[in-house]
Amino acid sequence: MSRVDRRQFLRRALTVVPVAVGAASGCRTTQFARVMLPGEAGMVGSHQAGQETFTPLVNDAVAKLLARHVDSGIRQVTYEEGTEPLPPPARRVCFVGVENKSAEEIGDFKEQIYEAIDARILESSVFQSVNRRFVDAGLRDTRLRPDQLLVPEHMRTFAAHLEQQGQPIDYLLYATITSGTTQQNRDYQRDYVLTLELVEVGTGTYDKQSAELSKGYHHTRLGRWRAAHAQPQ
């Protein structure tokens, strides 16, 4: 190699190396965020349930429950001539909590599910829910577990405690999330069910409404495509 070639080689090497390093720079990505527009399709949880699962479950289950009780909520009222008939008083519900019995840890969704159900109930004219802070204080003061409230004696104690606080109740409401998993090699289907149980404090009779949603988790895009285009059995 001549001296000129050597100098050219050095010059090129000294040019190429910083350019190569420079070109590679800035490859560490920065996290970005954006506000999602109303009605815009949300993200779908790839490994577990997310808003795509819980939002329709809550909507469906609460709507079913309210629909049933709007029908049964027609109460006989006395009518006196010259006076407006009074609407029946809204029944007071104590929403005890959301219980997660599914195979997944639902993390911060639990509080959101509670708030979503509570807000829907409050919006309806069918029920009036007791403020959550009274419920929390009631559970703490009576040292009763949510699952113990179904024992008649405990139910009476708890209802009496709330009444003392100026919060009489007609019903206890429980929400439960369950799941069932069907495995197909490395893909699996998980069926999520949100059940709302409404227990009448005076009689112990209860109503139950459920909403169900199934989700397929696929290991590959091909698996997802095949499942989406499979012929219904």
């Binding site: 100098r7 190569a20 390093v21 420079g22 997660n100 040292r143 577990r145």
Partner: protein, 448 residues
Amino acid sequence: MSPRIGPPRLGAAVAAAIVALSGGCVSHVVRLEPVRVAFQGGDLAEADRLLAAEAERFGADDQVLLLDRGMVALADGRPADAERLLRQARDGLDRVAEESADETAWSMLTDDGARAYAGEDHERVMVRAMLAIANLLQDGDDAEAYGLQVADEQRRIVAAAAEPDGTNPKAAYRQVAFAPYLRGILREATHRHYDDAARCFRQVIEWQPDFHPGPGHLARVTAGTHSRPGHGVVHVFALVGHGPFKMEAEEIPTSTSLLVADRMLSAGLGRSLPPTIAPIRLPRVVAAPGAAATVQVAVGDWSAGQTETITSVSQMALVQQEAMRPITLARAVARRAAKKGTIYGLKQGLGVREGLPGLALDMAGVAWEASEQADTRCWTLLPDRIQVMRLELPAGSHTLLLRPLDGRGLPLGPAAPQPVDVVDGRDSYLLVRAADGGFIGRPQASGR
């Protein structure tokens, strides 16, 4: 006419440039030795001063320094400062968690110190756990969020390491049982989410089977209640012993193999490669927990018991090091290959074969390789173990007597009285840091 540069002078110039590129800095572990000594000796002011000087030199946003400064603040009874520093460190670690191509390329020319420090996996989990503790000592408003982040981070670390063939080098990781424990006690304290608490304590038992109180906690949240009427709960968190740190260790077998390989290649290629004289250096986790073994808790004359280990930080660091060792070693070998390749390319490009220029380039190559340092950056002020204890006490004010004990049950220092306020149906939190000389800093209780 400019003077021509011949191969000998070119070789010398390149060699000088390479030697200049070589670092020669003191490693992190050596630099921070005085900080560790001051902290472990209970001289928090000195540890703080030394860390502040380091931060001034290396930048106030250096994540490793932020982590250590957070621990000093926590031991010093400044949980708000600790939370701020640790949050800053967490955000910094998250920012550099993803590998950067330019740093990776540069680290091939220098050493792993050129890569931004994203924290060891256990450190990324522990920073969130420490944030939760710091927050609980204040108002506890964000403790639940930090608890969730701990669980998410653990899941994310293991999931991200999954290979397409289904293997996962991080599957063997011992998980931080303190994370579900923390979430379990927070969920239990709501008096409503016993199902979540049960789920968490099941995880604690699975991840830390030798945590004796685990089954008792599970039984309580499954069938019992948070506390008896008129009683509240005090949770004692004890950060016990000295945490692991990293030392530089020489990989002699790998270095010898590499020397044999480069001699064989040199003979075959017709141009010599720089011989592997400088051994490959890798960081090695060293566990030196010290004498402190547990903290004895007494209320008046009643000996309530001792704190129990929920997470062994040193063990976790050692297991994680073993899992990641092949990757660290592979990176070190690849770096040597890149350096030898560069020298070989230079020789070929410059037409250098034997003689003084070749020798100069080989010497430069050896010096370049010898300049490598193991990346010993780590969170040095972590404890060896996180221990916990749950005490149910009547509502009101109590004074807890806390005493650090060694492995034989002998006291390591005087008992420290710590007043706590117990509120009916609620949790209170107490944090202590125990080491060989007794408590570092002073015990701290929430709401005080």
